[in-house]
Symmetry: C2
Subunit: 293 residues, 2 copies
């Protein structure tokens, strides 16, 4: 259901992508249909939605509907210390790279993983991530896929991602070609960072911005902290400032809306997309579109 | 109640300080008594505990018990945009500086405040903090008090402190003399920071480490995120790594245990101090004491 302000064919939505996590209760077919009806031309696809129908069928469904895939979510979880955990992680990431290639997803979002159970050695976990990115990068390159390193908010450092800032993501990417290892700029995760303007500028100069993901920072933090994300405009993030930096960095790619939020998941998906496109036009697009001063 | 391992006069506790927030349900008199019985020679005092009895009587109670004051908590909340809010904040901070001087507290911990209601301009809020620190610094200097800027975990950026990293705190302190504006290293707030080793080293070289505060990072994040702190050893923080950096930075001052945690508040205060001293000796003191390599 498109809003009264936008709909299929609206050129203002040309860069907008629906991440399937935002409409978690929709099947892939429903997400494809919802995006088409709302005029959203791209999907950020989670692997569980792909697994529902198989990767070749998923690729066909998305392409047949005229949509593109802005990213595959996600690879990563590279911090295991034991050999078994390492092998399993690398095998899973190789599978994710192959899936991304079949889907035509240039960007494979990487959530690198937290501290292993009972392990306090954060520096060592970060070193392991660097080593495993080095193992995966040539495989990604062979498949024409880029590993898009996602810094997660520091509140997830222990359990989800020891990669905590955009600057750290760029340092981790630095040994690799920019078309093989990039970085995600996700407003929810990085909005607070006093080094953000500098980091986005650096990411742009290095050609490493693989994805601009948007959602808002809500308070109070949800009881399940993973579900604390909100619709753009409902929280505290200055999309004008961050979007302006992303624009000035020369990023002209897709803008993915990825919201983990129990209330949004419980709502009607078409209504969510109507709000989402309206808020995108109101808060997210204007700074991206504005001519740099 | 001392542990079997430590107690009054134990030289291993010489740097340990009980922050009164850890035993929130104790009056100042009870905290003084508890610290003395546990062999803890210093208190980090919150202003609400001081207000209970008045600042001169509080100073006398603490001194008469042979304790010292490692810090006064807290000043700050400097981000208001309107004139009324600014004046109120500056007045309150001047009062806090005077209280610190009377208590003999060299360090006044500053929690700078979050975004004003409905305000999204993070950069402007951060500039206001810098301007108000500049107004307060000479007053603090006149009183022999140091403003100890505390970076809070980025999950509090919107509502508690737009000061989010140690590096940012050092940049904010930089225009001022090191004996007038310092920084707090609080493990809970900074443990995740990939720039932490560098930041602590810089803080040491600049002579700005005003306080080393310890508690642990617990998961899941508590429903009231402020109460998510835990007893050292119960969570994910590598006190060996952080303590080693603090030692190598030349910090030889007090080590304050400040834990906001509903379970700890509900427990018997003397039992909490017994656990606290034991965990301090087990996790926190060894890296601080070790001879640098």
């Amino acid at each position: 259901m498109a809003t009264e302000d936008s709909g299929p064919g609206d050129p203002r939505l040309a860069r907008l992508s629906l991440n399937t996590a935002t409409t978690k209760n929709w099947t892939l077919a429903e997400a494809v249909d919802g995006a088409v009806r709302a005029g959203i031309p791209a999907l950020g696809v989670w692997r569980d939605r792909v697994a529902e129908v198989g990767v070749r069928r998923a690729a066909a469904m998305i392409a047949d509907a005229g949509l593109r895939v802005s990213s595959l979510c996600r690879g990563g979880f590279l911090t295991a210390a034991g050999a078994g955990g390492v092998d399993a992680a690398l095998q899973d990431n190789r599978a994710a790279i192959r899936e991304a290639a079949v889907l035509g997803a240039r960007e494979l979002v990487m959530v690198v993983g937290g501290l292993p159970d009972g392990d306090h050695d954060l520096a060592a976990a970060r070193r392991r991530v660097a080593e495993r990115i080095a193992e995966l990068a040539p495989i990604a390159a062979d498949h024409g896929v880029r590993l898009a390193l996602e810094a997660l908010h520091p509140m997830y450092c222990a359990d989800r991602a020891v990669l905590s800032t955009l600057g750290q993501a760029l340092d981790l990417a630095a040994p690799h070609p920019a078309d093989t290892v990039g970085v995600v700029v996700d407003t929810f995760h990085v909005w607070w960072d006093p080094e953000l303007e500098r980091g986005i500028g650096r990411a742009g100069r290095e050609g490493r911005i693989a994805s601009y993901q948007v959602c808002d920072w809500m308070l109070p933090i949800a009881q399940d902290a993973l579900l604390s994300r909100g619709m753009m405009g409902d929280g505290h993030i200055d999309f004008g400032a961050v979007g302006g930096w992303v624009r000035d960095a020369g990023y002209a790619g897709d803008v993915e809306v990825e919201i983990f939020n129990a209330d949004i998941w419980a709502a009607d998906g078409h209504a969510v997309l109507a709000t989402l496109t309206r808020r995108y036009l109101e808060h997210v697009l204007p700074p991206l579109d504005r001519i740099a001063p």
